[in-house]
């Protein structure tokens, strides 16, 4: 009797330990994304995770290749009139939404209209648009009030907010209301019934998707899907992510913590893949409404105190994953230039001290906001505080969580009433590649990004850049924009760094571009 009981128990535990056979015949790629997916409307938020969700299920008129070139994606061909005021786009044949409906020019017009109400580049483009009209089901005409140099760059904008094409009925949702229908025409179909917020997001292959014939590059080219399902497995703890990858429970980690790369390299089953050579740009932002940084000379003193290597060594620590870059545009991109960046290119503390003395700085305490819960930038404020103290500033570094910081940075009040002086952040380099998309260069006073620089000369340069229609003049204007931005001290780039993807070695086909894209991946 006792023996039988023991055998039954042993069998039970063996069953538990062996586990069930996995689903047969279905190729599932499990990816742990950079964060939890909460908002499903990629036009409503600029959150990168929602942008990535958008790329799973929607497609775009144009895409940007890894070198920054704009290529047709849903568009088959396009023409522009001699006066550069009329653009005609024709969609590829056979484009269909997940519900089987054909993608029409009416869908495109509705989608662009909604995007143009929320995205900064979209708003700019729409300010030049006189009309958008459907010529037939597959063609549409966009008439401009005057030539605009960034039509294709806007439509092929790779990062948030991306002009994704949605069905007209969905795109007619007011821009300040979230959509609740996630029908797209992209390479994957979102399984809302399987979505468990904070746990798992499921996408299945769209069997009717027609990829372009070209090889994939960036967000352009053929989006071929080689797996049946992609599951985003939400794991917040970085060590648990690494353990799950080592155990083969997940296949890819999108953005592992820097301290884990050494363990990845030591594991023969894991590879580290650089899918985003441009990486991320870290910046320091001044509040120009409040003293002492309402004084441009004080800003220049602070800029002279900056030392990119100090930031990068402290924050990242792995030399092959960071680089100095003395440009407001990411290094290696079309407009990158060191014009007028001598402030930070050659750190000089004595110069900073002298500039601060000359500025008439009265010893006002500088409040730096430090987000302790955001590991990717948490150490940057510590370095900034130390450098500023060395230059002669009186610094008060205030620790808070990131959500408190993002709320507080919207306050224009004096520091004594809950305001702030400095915060640091990091954004994908692809978001700051030109004077229009780079929010930190916007100097339209009250309506700009937090920090609120106010400078007509800078705004005029950005406008001229937007109107310029040849690359040479754009390059010149981008340089002038940078020079003016540094002169008035909009912000300080404090270095660039990367988060290569960590993956099991049986996963291949990573597309080089600006972030992890789900197409072309194979699981062997």
């Amino acid at each position: 009797m006792r023996l039988r009981l023991l055998l039954v128990l042993a069998g039970f535990f063996a069953l538990i330990l062996c586990g069930p056979a996995s689903a047969q015949g279905e190729k599932i790629l499990r990816i742990t994304p950079q964060s939890n997916l909460t908002i499903l409307d990629p036009i409503w938020t600029t959150a990168y995770i929602t942008r990535n969700h958008g790329y799973m299920i929607y497609d775009t008129l144009f895409g940007m290749d890894a070198k920054g070139g704009i290529r047709p994606q849903m568009v088959d061909k396009y023409t522009v009139s001699k006066d550069k005021k009329t653009w005609t786009f024709t969609l590829r044949e056979g484009l269909a939404f997940h519900d089987g409906a054909t993608v029409t020019s009416e869908d495109v017009i509705a989608s662009l209209s909604r995007w143009g109400k929320r995205d900064s580049m979209g708003e700019k483009l729409m300010s030049f648009v006189e009309s958008m009209e459907a010529i037939d089901a597959r063609s549409l005409r966009v008439k401009l009030t005057e030539p605009y140099g960034l039509v294709l760059e806007s439509l092929g904008k790779p990062s948030s907010n991306v002009p994704f094409i949605m069905p007209k009925r969905v795109a007619e949702t007011p821009a300040d209301k979230q959509i609740d229908d996630y029908t797209g025409s992209g390479p994957f179909i979102f399984r809302k019934d399987e979505w468990k917020p904070g746990e798992k997001v499921v996408y299945v292959k769209n069997p009717n998707y027609q990829p372009r014939p070209e090889p994939p590059s960036g967000t352009a080219g053929g989006k071929r899907v080689n797996v049946d399902r992609v599951e985003w497995v939400i794991i917040k703890d970085p060590q648990t992510q690494a353990n799950a990858l080592a155990a083969g429970e997940i296949d890819v980690i999108e953005a592992p913590a820097h301290e884990l790369y050494a363990s990845f390299k030591a594991d023969k089953n894991i590879q580290v893949v650089e899918t985003n050579p441009l990486g991320y740009q870290a910046i320091l932002r001044f509040n120009q409404l409040q003293p002492p940084f309402d004084n441009p000379k004080v800003r220049q003193a602070a800029m002279a105190a900056m030392n990119q290597l100090a930031f990068l060594r402290t924050q990242v620590g792995i030399p092959e994953m960071y680089r100095t870059c003395f440009s407001v545009y990411p290094c290696g991109t079309a407009y990158a230039t060191e014009v007028a960046m001598d402030f930070i290119a050659k750190p000089d503390m004595k110069r900073a001290q002298q500039l601060l003395k000359d500025s008439g700085y009265d010893g006002t305490t500088v409040v730096i906001m430090q987000p302790t819960d955001l590991a990717v930038i948490a150490k940057l404020p510590v370095v900034a505080a130390q450098l500023l103290r060395q230059a002669g500033f009186k610094v008060d570094m205030q620790a808070m969580d990131w959500q408190t910081l993002v709320s507080r940075r919207a306050k224009k009040d004096p520091v004594s009433q809950g305001g702030w002086n400095i915060f640091l952040t990091v954004w994908a380099s692809v978001d700051v590649m030109n004077p229009i998309s780079n929010s930190a260069l916007n100097a339209a006073c009250d309506k700009t990004w937090f920090g609120w620089p106010c400078d007509k000369a800078l705004e005029d340069l950005r406008d001229a850049f937007a109107r310029a229609d040849d690359q040479k003049s754009r390059k010149t204007l981008a340089e002038k924009t940078q020079a003016r931005a540094m002169e008035i001290g909009t912000h300080v780039p404090v270095g660039e760094y990367n988060f290569p993807v960590a993956a099991r070695k049986n996963v291949t086909g990573f597309v080089i571009g600006f972030f992890l894209v789900p197409w072309n991946l194979q699981k062997h």
Binding site: T45, S160, D176, P197, G198, V233, Q239, A247, Q403, V406
Partner: protein, 313 residues
């Protein structure tokens, strides 16, 4: 008895109301703006203001509270700012992993701790007592995350026996569910084993000095019968109390364990909601936790009558 239960249930209403008001005000006074979180890092102040408006956050506190409390009284906890789904549905989704983890932990802890506590009391002052109490001190001392990573390293990565992370619902099969529960419940149970074993030891030790135990022994009853049917039964009230409080604590917050094992339970939901300033979700979850405490306390009180016939309600 029925009157007592009804009275206790009615008494929970003002408690929950006070909790509701407190949580509502506390959240609104905490720095942090859900609209700024939703809008994303590149959003401008104008865009954030529009989102605040669409979420109703520009209304006065009194109006916001009135709308919320009226909905709560109708059984509607509102809609999550982030997930755009009813908070009740969100909680329902997260309740099973937390309950399963809490129950597995407590069952494991009781099965191990009560016999250990009885043995330690039986051999009080002896080497067995010292060893068992030494282990229980160790159980209190090891941080949960250290034990969790040690178990993952050994059982999952080195031996490959159990999964590293995640939770499988019971609907997916009992075996996958248990495979994912073993390590987290083992990790969590250590501290509860220590706690319950200590309480059991103390209570049984006291009982063993009572006259009825001496009488039982004098009657010639076997020692196991004396220990279990006389000493343990009479020591049950503090043990049941600590087990009940343990269940309530486990439902309320197993954040570290849920985080290390990536279990999508209520603890993680609470932390995520707090970090995102998802007011409706935080309010809903805290109301649930408060209700759980009240119900567990009621059940503990009622269970006393089973162990001590002198207690009447």
């Amino acid at each position: 008895m029925l009157r007592f239960i009804l009275r206790r249930i009615l008494a929970t209403i003002p408690v929950l109301l006070v909790v509701a008001v407190f949580v509502f005000l506390m959240l609104r006074l905490t720095p942090g703006d859900p609209a700024a979180v939703i809008a994303g890092d590149s959003a401008t102040t104008e865009q954030i203001a529009k989102i605040r408006d669409s979420l109703g956050l520009n209304r006065s506190l009194a109006v916001q509270f009135g709308i919320w409390i009226a909905a709560v009284l109708r059984g509607d906890l509102g809609e999550s700012f982030f997930f755009k789904m009813p908070v009740t549905a969100l909680i329902a989704q997260r309740l099973e992993p937390t309950l399963a983890l809490a129950l597995a932990t407590i069952v494991l802890a009781v099965l191990v701790a009560v016999p250990l506590g009885v043995l330690a009391a039986w051999r009080r002052g002896g080497w067995l007592d010292r060893v068992l109490m030494g282990f229980s001190t160790l159980g209190f001392s090891i941080p949960v995350f250290v034990l969790a990573y040690l178990l993952i390293w050994l059982v999952s990565l080195k031996l490959g026996w159990l999964p590293v992370e995640g939770y499988r619902r019971i609907a997916d099969g009992l075996i996958p569910c248990m495979r994912h529960l073993i390590l987290p419940s083992l990790t969590l149970s250590v501290i509860y084993i220590a706690l319950i074993a200590r309480v059991t030891r103390a209570a049984v030790s006291d009982a063993l000095t009572e006259d009825f135990v001496r009488t039982a022994r004098a009657k010639g009853l076997p020692e196991p019968v004396v220990l279990v049917r006389h000493a343990l039964a009479n020591a049950a009230i503090p043990i049941v109390t600590v087990i009940g409080i343990g269940i309530a604590l486990l439902i309320g917050g197993v954040v570290v364990t849920e985080s290390v094992y990536a279990i999508p339970g209520l603890g993680r939901l609470t932390v995520d909601a707090v970090l995102a300033r998802d007011f409706p979700t935080i309010q809903g979850v805290i109301l649930l936790f408060s209700a759980a405490y009240v119900v567990v306390n009621l059940l503990i009180d009622l269970s006393y009558t089973l162990f001590d016939p002198r207690i009447r309600y």
